[in-house]
C-alpha cells in the first residue's frame, strides 16, 4: 500500500474508533430523521370536525382534496351548540341555512363552506359552473416548498461538514507538527503524501457522515411520506451534493492543513484558520439567502465563483432548477480552484511544517526559494 493510503487509513481508523465520532453520527442521524418527520407533525394536512342538524353534508372533500373532514349528526341545535362550545366540532351546519361556530369561523373553512354551499344550491337549480382553469406562465412551483426545505437542510449540513472536517485536518497537522512526529514521518513520506493522506482520510470520514445523513434523511422522508413532495431528479441532486462536498472539502481542507502547518500549538489553530472560516461563513450566509431567492443576481453570480460556489451551487440546484451547463461551468471553475489550492497548499505545508517554534509567516514561506 502506498504512503498516502497508509496515512489515510490511519486517519480513518483513528477517527471512526473514537466515541465522539460514533456519538456525533448517531446524533446527526437522529436530528435528520426528526427534521424529516417535522412537517408531518406540525404542518400536516388541515382537518376539520363538522356537524349537521337537519341538513345534508356538503361535498367539501371534492373542493378541498388535501383537507380531512369528519362529520357528526346532532339531534338538535342545543346539542350542536354545546359541542361547538366544548370545541368538539369546528362548525355545525343547521338546516342548510346557518352555520354555528365558537366566535369567528376559520377563514379557510368559512370560504369553503360558502362556496360549496353556493355551488350545491346552484347545482340543485340546474346551473352548472365549469371550474376556472389555472394556467401557470411562470416556472413550475409545485415543489417550491419542498425545494426550499431541502436547500435549507443542505446549507446547514454542508456548512457543518466543511467547517468540521477542515478543522479536523488543521488540528491533525498541528498535532503532528507540535509533537515533532512529523520529523520521523517525513523521513519516510513525502510532504504531499502526509498532507494528502490526512485530507483523503478525513474526507472519507466526512463522506461517511454525509452519506449517513442523506440516507437517513431519504429513508425517513419516505417513511413519513414527505418524499412525495420531493421534486423530480433527487438522485441527481444527491450525487451533485456529494461531488460538491468533495470539491469544497478538498479546497478548504487543503488550505486549512497548509495554514495550520504555520503554527506549532493547538491554541494557535483558530487564529490561522480565521480567514478560511470567514470565507465559509460568507458562503453560508449567501447560500442561506439563496434558499429563499435561488434565481436572484447574488445567488446566480456567486454560484460561479469558487470557493463560494461549492456551497451556493448545490443549494441553488436544490432550491430551483439549474441548467446543466451552468452547473458544469461552475464545477469546472471549482476544479481549477481546487487544483490551485492543492499546489499552493502542498508548497506552504512542505516549507512550513518542519519549522517548529514561533508562528511562521505565510509571506516568508511563499517568498522563500
Amino acid at each position: 500500500m502506498n504512503g498516502l493510503m497508509l496515512v489515510a487509513r490511519r486517519e480513518i481508523v483513528t477517527q471512526v474508533r473514537t466515541k465522539a465520532f460514533v456519538i456525533g453520527l448517531l446524533i446527526t442521524a437522529a436530528l435528520v430523521a426528526a427534521i424529516s418527520f417535522a412537517p408531518k407533525l406540525f404542518g400536516g394536512p388541515e382537518s376539520y370536525a363538522l356537524g349537521t342538524v337537519d341538513s345534508q353534508r356538503l361535498p367539501l372533500e371534492a373542493a378541498a382534496p388535501d383537507a380531512e373532514f369528519t362529520w357528526r349528526a346532532f339531534p338538535d341545535e342545543a346539542a350542536a351548540k354545546q359541542a361547538v362550545l366544548a370545541g368538539d366540532v369546528d362548525a355545525v351546519l343547521v338546516g342548510g341555512t346557518k352555520v354555528l361556530t365558537d366566535g369567528k369561523i376559520d377563514d379557510q373553512l368559512g370560504v369553503l363552506l360558502q362556496s360549496v354551499n353556493r355551488e350545491a344550491k346552484l347545482g340543485a337549480a340546474g346551473v352548472s359552473i365549469p371550474p376556472l382553469q389555472v394556467v401557470s406562465v411562470g416556472a413550475d412551483t409545485r415543489y417550491q416548498a419542498a425545494r426550499t426545505g431541502l436547500a435549507t437542510v443542505l446549507v446547514i449540513v454542508l456548512f457543518m461538514m466543511l467547517i468540521g472536517q477542515a478543522t479536523m485536518v488543521a488540528m491533525g497537522v498541528v498535532e503532528e507538527k507540535g509533537s515533532r512526529i512529523v520529523e520521523i514521518l517525513l523521513a519516510t513520506l513525502r510532504p504531499w503524501q502526509l498532507l494528502g493522506g490526512k485530507i483523503v482520510g478525513l474526507g472519507v470520514v466526512g463522506l461517511i457522515n454525509l452519506v449517513t445523513i442523506l440516507a437517513v434523511g431519504l429513508a425517513a422522508s419516505m417513511a413519513s411520506g414527505i418524499s412525495a413532495d420531493f421534486p423530480p431528479g433527487m438522485p441527481g441532486l444527491v450525487a451533485g451534493v456529494l461531488v460538491w462536498f468533495v470539491l469544497g472539502y478538498a479546497f478548504f481542507a487543503t488550505l486549512a492543513g497548509a495554514f495550520a502547518s504555520l503554527v506549532s500549538r493547538q491554541e494557535e489553530v483558530n487564529s490561522v484558520l480565521t480567514p478560511l472560516i470567514m470565507v465559509i461563513m460568507v458562503s453560508y450566509f449567501v447560500s442561506f439567502f439563496a434558499t429563499r431567492d435561488p434565481t436572484g443576481t447574488l445567488a446566480t453570480v456567486t454560484s460561479y465563483v469558487p470557493p463560494f460556489s461549492s456551497m451556493i451551487m448545490p443549494v441553488r440546484m436544490a432550491a430551483a432548477e439549474v441548467p446543466l451547463w451552468q452547473a458544469g461551468l461552475s464545477m469546472a471553475a471549482m476544479v481549477v480552484a481546487v487544483l490551485a489550492a492543492l499546489a499552493f497548499g502542498a508548497k506552504v505545508y512542505q516549507r512550513a511544517v518542519l519549522r517548529t517554534g514561533a508562528r511562521v509567516k505565510l509571506g516568508d514561506v511563499v517568498r522563500a526559494r
Partner: protein, 298 residues
C-alpha cells in the same frame, strides 16, 4: 559507506541577527558499514543540524551526503532508521499499532511489520504495554517505543540523536546491546551523545564537532594516542615548594602530591621529584575522551 562532506548551513536570522546563524561550517566525516560512530560536541555545536540534513529533514546550503558512493536520495533514506532529538510519537495511538504503522510506512507488508513489532517490543521490554496509548507510558518507556520505531524496519543505516539520554542504566545496556548487534550485522550507526564514557566504551570512531566544524575525527584509539600525553607524578611527603616553577597542576591528597603536566622535559621533573620525596608513581597517561574533548572544543 556513509559519507558526509563539507556541509554548510546558515539559519535565517531574526531582526537582532540579520546575518542569521552559521550552524554548520564544513562538517564532514565518513562511517563505514558495521562501524559505530559517536558524534560529540558542546550544546549548539551542530550535531542535530547535521543529522537532520542527513535525514533530509533539513536542506544544507552546500555540501553533500552520499551512501554507497551515490548521493543520498529519498528512497535510500526510507531504509534508514532515525531517532530525532525532539521525540515525537502519536500520543493517543497504541504502542504496538504505532510501531507497526511505522514499519508499514517504511514499506513492510502487514504481516512482516507485525512480526518485527512483536520481536522489538519483547527485546526493548515494552511488550506488556502493547495496547496502552503512548501517553500512558513513562518518559523512558516512550523513548523505548521511539527507538522501536527507528528500528522496526531493519534499517540499513541508523541515525540516532541522543538515544541514551533519559534512559536508566538497564535500558542503556539493552539499547547498547541492540545497537552493537545491528553494527555486527554490518549497519553503520551514528549517534550523538554527551555521555562521553559511554561513547568511549561503545564507539569505534568518534567525531568531535565545535561551532559547526569538525575539530577531531578518527578511531578512539587514534585520538587518544594523538592527543598530548599527560605526565602524572605522585610524590609522598615532598619538601614544601618542590614543584614551584614547574608547569602543570599539583593536587594534594593527604600526604601525596599529584603533579599533572604536559611539560616536555620529563627527566628534569623526575630528578626534582626524587630529590623532594618518595616517588610512588611516574608515568605518561593517554588522555580520556573527556580530556580530548575539552581540549578540542576549548
Amino acid at each position: 559507506m556513509l559519507e558526509i562532506s563539507e556541509l554548510h548551513k546558515r539559519f535565517a536570522g531574526g531582526p537582532d541577527a540579520p546575518d542569521g546563524k552559521l550552524a554548520l561550517d564544513g562538517i564532514g566525516f565518513a562511517v563505514r558499514p558495521g562501524e559505530m560512530y559517536g558524534f560529540v560536541g558542546a550544546n549548539g555545536a551542530g550535531k542535530t543540524t547535521t543529522m537532520r540534513i542527513v535525514m533530509g529533514v533539513l536542506q544544507a546550503d552546500s555540501g553533500s551526503v552520499s551512501w554507497q558512493g551515490r548521493p543520498l536520495g529519498y528512497e535510500d533514506r526510507r531504509r534508514f532508521g532515525y531517532m530525532p532529538e525532539e521525540r515525537g510519537l502519536y500520543q493517543k495511538m497504541r504502542v504496538a499499532e504505532q510501531i507497526e504503522y511505522f514499519g508499514r510506512l517504511h514499506g513492510m507488508s502487514a504481516a512482516v511489520a507485525k512480526k518485527a513489532t512483536e520481536d522489538l517490543m519483547e527485546r526493548l521490554g515494552v511488550a506488556e504495554r502493547r495496547n496502552d496509548p503512548v501517553q500512558a507510558l513513562s518518559l523512558g518507556n516512550q523513548q523505548r517505543v521511539q527507538l522501536a520505531v527507528a528500528l522496526v524496519h531493519d534499517p540499513e543505516v541508523l541515525v540516532l540523536d541522543e538515544p541514551f539520554s533519559g534512559l536508566d542504566p538497564i535500558a542503556v545496556d539493552a539499547l547498547a546491546t541492540a545497537l552493537q548487534e545491528r553494527c555486527a550485522g554490518g549497519v553503520p550507526v551514528i549517534f550523538s551523545s554527551h555521555q562521553l564514557e559511554l561513547v568511549e566504551r561503545l564507539c569505534d570512531s568518534v567525531g568531535i564537532v565545535s561551532a559547526g566544524r569538525m575539530v577531531a575525527t578518527g578511531t578512539v584509539a587514534d585520538l587518544r594516542s594523538a592527543g598530548n600525553d599527560t605526565l602524572r607524578v605522585v610524590v609522598r611527603n615532598p619538601a614544601q615548594g618542590w614543584a614551584d616553577g614547574l608547569p602543570g597542576t599539583v593536587t594534594v591528597s593527604g600526604d601525596r602530591h599529584i603533579l599533572r603536566t604536559t611539560y616536555g622535559d620529563d627527566q628534569e621533573i623526575l630528578r626534582r621529584a626524587v630529590k623532594a620525596g618518595h616517588v610512588e608513581h611516574f608515568g605518561h597517561e593517554r588522555p580520556t575522551l573527556t580530556e580530548i574533548f575539552k581540549e578540542a572544543v576549548a
